[in-house]
Amino acid sequence: MSARVNLTLNINERDYAVSVEPRHTLADVIRDQCGLTGTHLGCEHGVCGSCTILLDGEPVRACLIFAVQCDGQEIRTVEGLSEGNELHPLQASFRDNHALQCGYCTPGFLMLAAGILERNPSISDEDLRDVLSSNICRCTGYANIVKAVRAAVAEMGRR
């Protein structure tokens, strides 16, 4: 075991002062020290994407980075997606299109989609499918996830 390191994580525009071991993953620290348990762990080796968060705007797998690598960077998790009681269009669309069953994969898909759409709001259907195929859902068969993201793209375009 190695000495602890003090650092500040900026999550959803709020600073969290934490003391971590270098081997602590970002996902574990977000969950266990910052209490933001919406970021889920499905495999802890980068395959399933349930732990997807935004790091300086880019979707990344929080199980594959160490917290010490993220000092001072801007982190966004699913808890930061809605504004107060107002759901983000992606969240509302997932609900309206029955794009979740158990909901375990949902935060990862939401953050993945949010990251992509912020970068490229006019993404083609084919590219969208391609990106969404990097996360795993075991319940829905994906059809409604694709439908929900497309509907949210349309909704966001209208706003």
Binding site: G42, E79, L87, R95, H98, Y104, I136, R138, T140
Partner: protein
């Protein structure tokens, strides 16, 4: 069925708000002050004697609180079967919570470590030294049985199902066709791994298990027997569950360990499985070898079916005993009218992960076998695969259709209702089967390897015996529905709220549905084998009607109007013919029914009711799967171009959720048919112990699945006609895909083994010189 206001509508789910905002509460999200973290040191051998265990280095690690081997918990027996599955002959094969003397699969729990921190617990597990002496390793149920323990072989049971004159039928058959078939080892692999937290409150003498799922009351009953306490001293709590699929929520050694440890160590004990453990330790299923044959007359009518099954159970017998083998046999004839039948199963233990139920247990397997046989008959007799099925389907006028087995200990089946030829026809029409054949012919002529296949199947659900519900309306009109059901992500709360809302006359969004809390209701059926909607839904329906009757009785007195002139709309009672006249809300009625109320009269206080629903028998939904696949002859890769599921659900409580279940199940089935397999080497080492090796389908592999939900045959066995939908999506997928691939490569009987991986398909093509 009359059109409902909310029942039968694709309303949005009550569950979704917390889940889309990251405020769900899965077991990993739950923490208690001063909790310890448990980690299990597991066997790295598939079969070995434990010579010695040295835990001194693990104990010495700072932060480690306790380290246990089986010697530390001599009083704890093996994980028991569910009360209704007990079978004396299987008892010696149950799994101890920590291995005693022998390990029987890679992943078998040997040592439990309890530490202040999950990382430290994991470090300590690596410091445990276990000395093994290897024993003979059995990796296939085809091998000769070995020794389970002195005086006991690994063939734990030999099972038989028979009816009719099988030998006579084979003797007079026009043709007999035999197939040698394998279904590979799969599992549910929910995205959330297992987890359990034990907590003991000495002040009240109550032990709590958090993270339980699926069958909470039954697990509580098993646990109280194992732990020697009373049901009111053990509270089992469900939180959000990240998918179940039959495997999550069964009792496992770790559930027992956290409870024993919480009590003995005096601190809450949390255990969260990692993915590697999950793929080695959680229940697996499906692995069977079938030597199947069928006797037919010259028109392709089935005279008899016979099957010899080698069932690979893995290292121990888990909670379901030999139930999966039994389900395989009794559902083998499916929706065909088969006059004579004999199946035998060699139920054998091997040195691999133990097995139990995975979505459509025994049915995915038997549908694959049955439909392979039927396709082989069609090919042999030169008949169209549609025509041969039509000739053999049970006809609607034969309903209810009985399967009566000769063996006294085998349960007889009675298919409650159904029009199988009608659904078959509807499915083929919607799929455009006939025009499709033309198109396939054209594309084949152009050099494509493309084909279509089908799987027809029977499901079962809603098995009793009984479930209850309690519904209470509070003084502000809030409605609480307390059930003993469980939710694994399938939308249970929404479905129950819809049923209650329809019967009571309230907005479904104002209803709070409680499930999975054994301290809230004494009995509960849980959510297994597609029971939830039928049984708990039935109970909620009758209970809501009782509350309604009580509300109307009071309202009639208060409003001075006859009961049968009243209706309840959005929680307000009014006169049907005079909606603008006098009204009273359910909340106000509840106030008038409070204890001590002047108008209470002789009534029981409170606006609430508790009722039970006892269905007469199991319901049998049925379905058709159709597939079009394209094979790449170079790589052996298979692309699923089209897939359709047609399913008669009797009645859909929420069509969007039914469709979601069917589509999700289908894709899971495609995983089993084409990609997923737990492979072991000849030393019993698992070769698919990460998600990079056990290949779950992603969006890249997912076709647009077409869905046809019909309600042509509502069940006569429950008041809503529901047959439920949990397992119909997956049941026939293997069969349909195998048929389609056989058709594509021009060898209808070629596919004998699931999953059809590119390598296996290349081998088949290569053997053909292609």
């Amino acid at each position: 069925m009359p059109e409902g206001k909310v029942l039968g509508k694709p309303v949005t789910r009550l569950e979704d708000q917390p889940l889309v905002t990251g405020r769900g509460r899965y077991v990993g999200d739950i923490n208690f002050p001063h909790q310890l973290h448990m980690r299990i040191a597991r066997s790295v051998h598939a079969h070995a004697e434990i010579r010695s265990i040295d835990t001194s280095r693990a104990r010495a690690l700072p932060g480690v609180f306790a380290v246990w081997t089986s010697d530390d918990i001599p009083e704890v027996g093996p994980v028991d079967f569910r009360a209704d599955r007990a079978s004396e002959v299987l008892k010696p094969y149950r799994q101890p919570v920590l291995a005693r003397g022998r390990v029987r699969y890679v992943g078998d729990p040997v040592v439990a470590i309890f530490a202040e921190d999950a990382y430290v617990a994991e470090d300590a597990a690596e410091l445990v030294d276990i000395d093994y002496s290897p024993l003979r390793i059995i990796v296939s149920a085809d091998e000769d049985p070995g020794e389970f323990e002195p005086g006991r072989t690994t063939e734990a049971a030999f099972l038989t199902h028979t009816f009719g004159d099988v030998d006579g039928a084979f003797a007079k058959a026009h043709k007999v066709i035999e197939l040698d078939l394998h279904t590979g080892r799969h599992s549910g692999v929910p995205l959330e791994t297992r987890g359990a937290i034990g907590r003991y409150d000495a002040a009240t003498d109550i032990l709590e298990l958090h993270g339980a799922a699926k069958v909470l009351h039954r697990n509580r009953d098993t646990l109280v027997n194992m732990l020697g306490c009373n049901p009111d001293q053990l509270h089992v709590h469900e939180s959000h569950v990240g998918g179940g699929f039959g495997i999550r929520g069964e009792l496992y050694p770790e559930d027992v360990l956290v409870l024993v440890a919480a009590k003995r160590l005096g601190r809450p004990v949390k255990w969260i499985e990692d993915r590697y453990e999950h793929l080695m330790c959680a229940n697996q299923g499906r692995e069977q070898h079938h030597l199947a044959r069928v006797a037919v007359d010259k028109d392709g009518r089935i005279l008899a079916m016979e099957d010899k099954i080698f069932h690979d159970q893995g290292g121990y017998v888990r909670t379901h005993g030999y139930n999966v083998a039994n389900r395989t046999m009794c559902m083998l004839t499916g929706l065909y009218d088969v006059p004579a039948f004999r199946a035998v199963t060699h139920y054998r233990l091997t040195n691999k992960t133990p097995c139990a139920t995975y979505r459509a247990p025994g049915r995915f397997e038997s549908t694959f076998v049955r439909e392979r046989l039927v396709d082989a008959v069609a090919a042999e007799l030169g008949l169209d695969p549609v025509e041969i099925r039509r000739r053999n389907l049970i006809r609607p006028e034969q309903m209810p259709y009985k399967l009566e087995f000769d063996e006294a200990n085998v349960e007889n089946l009675e298919f409650d209702s159904g029009d199988y030829p009608l659904l078959f026809k509807k499915a083929l029409d919607m799929f455009g089967w006939n025009t499709l054949q033309e198109e396939l012919k054209r594309r084949r002529a152009a050099g494509e390897m493309i084909g279509a296949g089908m799987g027809l199947f029977l499901e079962e659900g809603g098995r009793g015996p009984s479930d209850g519900a309690r519904i209470a309306v509070d003084s502000r009109g809030g409605v609480e529905v307390v059930t003993g059901g469980a939710s694994l992500g399938q939308g249970f709360e929404t479905a129950m709220a819809q049923i209650c809302a329809e019967a009571l006359g309230v907005d479904y969004r104002k209803i709070r549905v409680i499930h999975g809390q054994t301290d809230r209701i004494p009995y509960g059926i849980g959510a297994h084998a597609t029971r939830a909607t039928v049984l708990t839904g039935g109970a909620v329906h009758v209970t809501a009607l009782a509350v309604r009757a009580k509300a109307l009785d009071m309202a009639s007195e208060l409003l001075q109007l006859p009961v049968d002139s009243l209706e309840i709309v959005d929680g307000t009672v009014r006169q049907r013919s005079n909606p603008r006249g006098p009204t009273i809300t359910l909340g106000d009625i509840a106030k008038r029914l409070a204890p001590g109320s002047k108008v209470l009269g002789g009534r029981q206080p409170g606006l609430w009711a508790e009722e039970f629903f006892n269905p007469k028998d199991t319901v049998f939904p049925y379905g058709v799967h159709l597939a079009v696949v394209k094979v790449d002859p170079g790589t052996g890769g298979v692309t699923v171009e089209r897939f359709m599921v047609a399913y008669d659900v009797g009645r859909a409580v929420n069509p969007a959720m039914v469709e979601g279940q069917l589509v999700g199940g289908c894709l899971q089935g495609l995983g089993g048919a084409l990609y997923e397999e737990f492979i072991y080497d000849d030393q019993g080492q698992p070769l698919a112990a990460t998600l990079a090796d056990y290949l779950l389908p992603t969006l890249g592999e997912a076709p647009d699945i077409e869905v046809l939900i019909t309600e042509d045959a509502p069940s006569p066995l429950n008041p809503l006609g529901i047959k439920s939908a949990g397992e119909g999506g997956i049941n026939g997928v293997g069969a349909a895909i195998a048929g389609a691939i056989g058709d594509a490569i021009g060898r209808p009987g070629a596919i004998r083994r699931m999953p059809v991986t590119p390598q296996r398909l290349r081998d088949i093509l290569r053997a053909d010189g292609r």
